[in-house]
Symmetry: C2
C-alpha cells in the first residue's frame, strides 16, 4: 500500500541520492584537480601509457568482478544475480582520475553511474530488498549518479528509467528515481562550486522551415552518435584481437593517444574538454573539432581506459552543431545546444532525458528545437549504442 | 526501414498536426467568443438547461456513435474496431461552444483530443494504414490536439504517448507524436493570438525542506485530482440511475448549475475560468475557489455536458496551490504553478507530460518543483482517473 511504499522508498532513495551526490562531488572535484595539474604539467601526458597499464592491472587484480562497469549494472537490473561490490566506487573514481590526470580523452558520467549504482546496491542488504526492490534501487542509483554529476535532476531521473531498454519506459521506479536524483543533485550542489551556465541566447520561431532544419541536424547528430559507438567498438575489438594481456591494451592505447596529441601539437582533445564545449556556444570553432574529439575518445575508451562517454559526446555534439551553423540556417549557439544533447540522445538512446537535459541546462525556450534534434538523432542512431547491454524493447521504426 | 518510415510518417503526422492545430484554433476562437458573449449577456445562463437538452439530443440523434468521446478514442487505440467518424469533430466543437456560451463549467482539452484524433483518423483510409499504423496515427492526433490547444508541444507529444496506459510508455509512436504536436502548435500559433504567459517569479533553492514541502503539496494535489474523478463519476451514476432519458440528464444538470451560480451570486466558476487562473498567480484568491470549481465542473460534466476536464483542473490546482501558500512555506505563484500541473498530473496519470507542461508554460526554473508535485500527485491519485478507459499497465506502488 502507498503509506508503506513511501515509508520504505523515500528514505532508501534519499540515502542513495546522498551517497551518489557525494561521490559525484568527489568526482567533480578530483577531475577539476586532475585537469588543473595536467594543464600546468604537460609532461604528464607522456606517462599516459603507464597510467593505462596501472588501470588495467588494478582491474585485473582487484577489480575483475566490477570491470564490466555500466554494462554490468544494466545486466544486474535486467537479471539480478549478485550485489555490485563496494569496491566499484573507489576503483572507478581512482582510475577515472588517472585517465584525466594523464590526458586520456574521457568523460565522467560512466563513473557517476557506477558510483551511484554500486553505492546504492550497498543498501540492498540492510533494507532487505527483494529482486524487484533491488532493481528499482539500482535504477534510482543510476538516476542519482547522472542527475548529480550534470546538475540536471529531471534529466537524471528520466535517464535512469529510460536507459535500460530501447523503446519503452516503465514507471515502477518513478518515485525512487526522482527522489534519488533530486537529493543527489542537492548534495552535489552543496559540496561543489556552481558550474558555468550555457547561454543559448536567441531562439527563432519554430516554423516548418526551422523544424526541417532542426530535423536534418538531428539526423546528422544521430549518425555521428552511431559512428562513435561503432568506432569505439571496432577499436575495442582490434585491441582484444591483437593484445592478449588485458592491461597492455590501455598501455598501447595510451601510447597512441599521446602520440596523436604530439602529432597535432594540441591538447584540445584530451581530458573532459570543458573549455571547448563552452567555446562552441560563443565562437566559431574548427569544423573538425567534433571528429578530433570523437577519435581521441573512441581510442581512449576503446583501449580500455576508465571514464565516461557522455561529456565527450557533449563536446562532439556541441562542436558539430557549431560547425553545422555554416550550412544550416539556425543560430550557432542553438545548434551547439542541439548537438550537445542530440549526439548523446542517439548514442545513449534516451530522447526524453536528453530533451529534459537541454531544458535544464539551456532553458525551456530551446526545448522544442532540442526535442526535434533528440528524436531524429534517436531514430538515426540505429538499434544499439554506447551501452551494449541495453535491450531493444520496441523497435524504433 | 528508416527512409520508408520517414517518407511515410512525417507527411502523415504533419497533416494530422495541421488538421488538429486548425481545429484547436477554431476551438480557442469560438470559446473566446462564447466567453465574451456570455459575460455581457448573463441571462444566457438561464438557458443552460436548454443548451444541455440540445447537446443531449444532438448526441442521441446524430452523434450516438461518437458519444464515447475520449474513452472511445482510447478504446480504438487499444483495440481498433472501426474508424472514428468525421462528425465527431463538428459535434464536439459545436456542443463545447454551447456549454461555454450558456455557462457550463468545462474545459477544452477533451474537445481538442476528439478533434485531433477524429480528424487524424480520416487519414487512415487514404494512407492505407494497418491496425498498428492507425494506432500510431490516433496517438499522434491526441498529441497534436493537446499540444496545440495548450501551446505546449512537448507536453502534448509526451501526453499522447503517456495517457493510454498507467505506468508505462512505449516509444513506437515517438516520431509521429512529436511531429504532429509541433506542427499542430505551429498551426494554432499562426491562427490565434498569443495567450498571456504565466509568471512564476522567484523560485527558491531546492533543498530537503523545500522538497518535502513540495511533496506534501503534491500529495494534496493528487488527492484532489482523485476526488474530482470520483465525484464526477458519482454524479454521472446518479443521473444515470435517476434520469432515464439521456438528453434530460444535462437538462437537469444545467438547472442545478444555473441555480448554484444564482445561489452564490457569482459566475466565477462558470466557463473556462481563464481569469481566476491568472489571478491565482498574482493575488490571494478565496481558499475555497478550488472546491467551487471542482463541484461546478463535476456537476457540468457528470450531467453530460460536452467539454474538457483539463482547464478546470488547472483552475482547481492553481487556486488550491494559492490557498496552500497559507500553510506551506513556498512562494504563492510557485505553488499555483505546481497545482496547475499537479492536479492534472494525478487526474490524468501523466506525470512526465505534466512536468514538461510546467517547463513550457512557466520556465525551466520551476521544473524540479513541478516534477515533485506531479510525481507525488501521480502516486496519491489512485489507479484510475478522468480517462476511464486508460489501462493500468504497471502498478504505481
Amino acid at each position: 500500500a502507498l503509506p508503506q511504499y513511501l515509508v520504505r522508498w523515500v528514505p532508501i532513495a534519499g540515502i542513495a541520492g546522498i551517497l551518489a551526490g557525494a561521490a559525484s562531488a568527489l568526482l567533480i572535484w578530483s577531475l577539476n584537480q586532475a585537469t588543473r595539474i595536467r594543464e600546468s604539467h604537460l609532461w604528464l601526458i607522456a606517462l599516459l601509457p603507464l597510467a593505462g597499464l596501472v588501470e588495467g592491472l588494478l582491474y585485473l587484480y582487484i577489480g575483475r568482478d566490477v570491470s564490466g562497469g555500466n554494462n554490468l549494472i544494466f545486466e544486474q537490473i535486467q537479471q539480478p544475480t549478485r550485489r555490485l561490490q563496494f569496491r566499484m566506487t573507489p576503483l572507478i573514481l581512482l582510475t577515472t582520475f588517472m585517465t584525466h590526470l594523464f590526458g586520456g580523452s574521457a568523460g565522467r558520467e560512466g563513473t557517476a553511474l557506477q558510483t551511484g549504482a554500486s553505492l546504492a546496491d550497498q543498501l540492498t542488504r540492510p533494507f532487505r530488498l527483494d529482486e524487484r526492490g533491488r532493481r528499482i534501487l539500482l535504477m534510482a542509483g543510476l538516476s542519482a549518479g547522472f542527475g548529480s554529476v550534470f546538475g540536471a535532476p529531471l534529466a537524471g531521473a528520466v535517464f535512469g528509467m529510460e536507459v535500460l531498454a530501447i523503446g519503452s519506459v516503465s514507471y515502477d521506479a518513478i518515485l525512487p528515481c526522482f527522489v534519488a536524483s533530486l537529493i543527489g543533485n542537492i548534495t552535489t550542489s552543496a559540496l561543489t562550486e556552481h558550474e558555468a551556465a550555457f547561454r543559448v541566447g536567441y531562439v527563432p520561431y519554430l516554423n516548418v522551415r526551422t523544424l526541417v532544419l532542426a530535423a536534418i541536424a538531428g539526423a546528422i547528430f544521430g549518425a555521428v552518435g552511431l559512428a562513435f559507438s561503432w568506432i569505439a567498438h571496432q577499436i575495442e575489438l582490434f585491441f582484444k584481437n591483437h593484445v592478449r594481456y588485458v592491461p597492455m591494451r590501455p598501455f598501447f592505447g595510451g601510447v597512441l593517444v599521446a602520440l596523436a596529441a604530439a602529432a597535432i601539437h594540441s591538447t584540445r582533445y584530451l581530458g573532459l574538454g570543458a573549455r571547448p564545449i563552452v567555446e562552441a556556444f560563443a565562437l566559431r570553432v574548427s569544423p573538425w573539432d567534433w571528429l578530433g574529439k570523437l577519435l581521441f575518445t573512441a581510442l581512449t575508451l576503446g583501449a580500455g581506459f576508465k571514464g565516461g562517454e557522455v561529456t565527450p559526446l557533449f563536446f562532439v555534439g556541441a562542436t558539430l552543431g557549431n560547425a553545422l551553423s555554416r550550412f544550416i540556417a539556425l543560430p550557432m549557439p542553438l545548434l551547439a545546444a542541439m548537438g550537445f544533447v542530440g549526439v548523446f540522445a542517439g548514442a545513449a538512446n534516451t530522447p526524453i532525458a536528453s530533451t529534459l537535459l537541454a531544458m535544464e541546462l539551456f532553458g525551456a525556450e530551446a526545448g522544442s528545437f532540442a526535442a526535434i534534434a533528440c528524436i531524429f538523432s534517436y531514430l538515426f542512431s540505429g538499434h544499439s549504442g554506447i551501452y551494449r547491454t541495453q535491450r531493444v524493447q520496441v523497435n524504433k521504426y
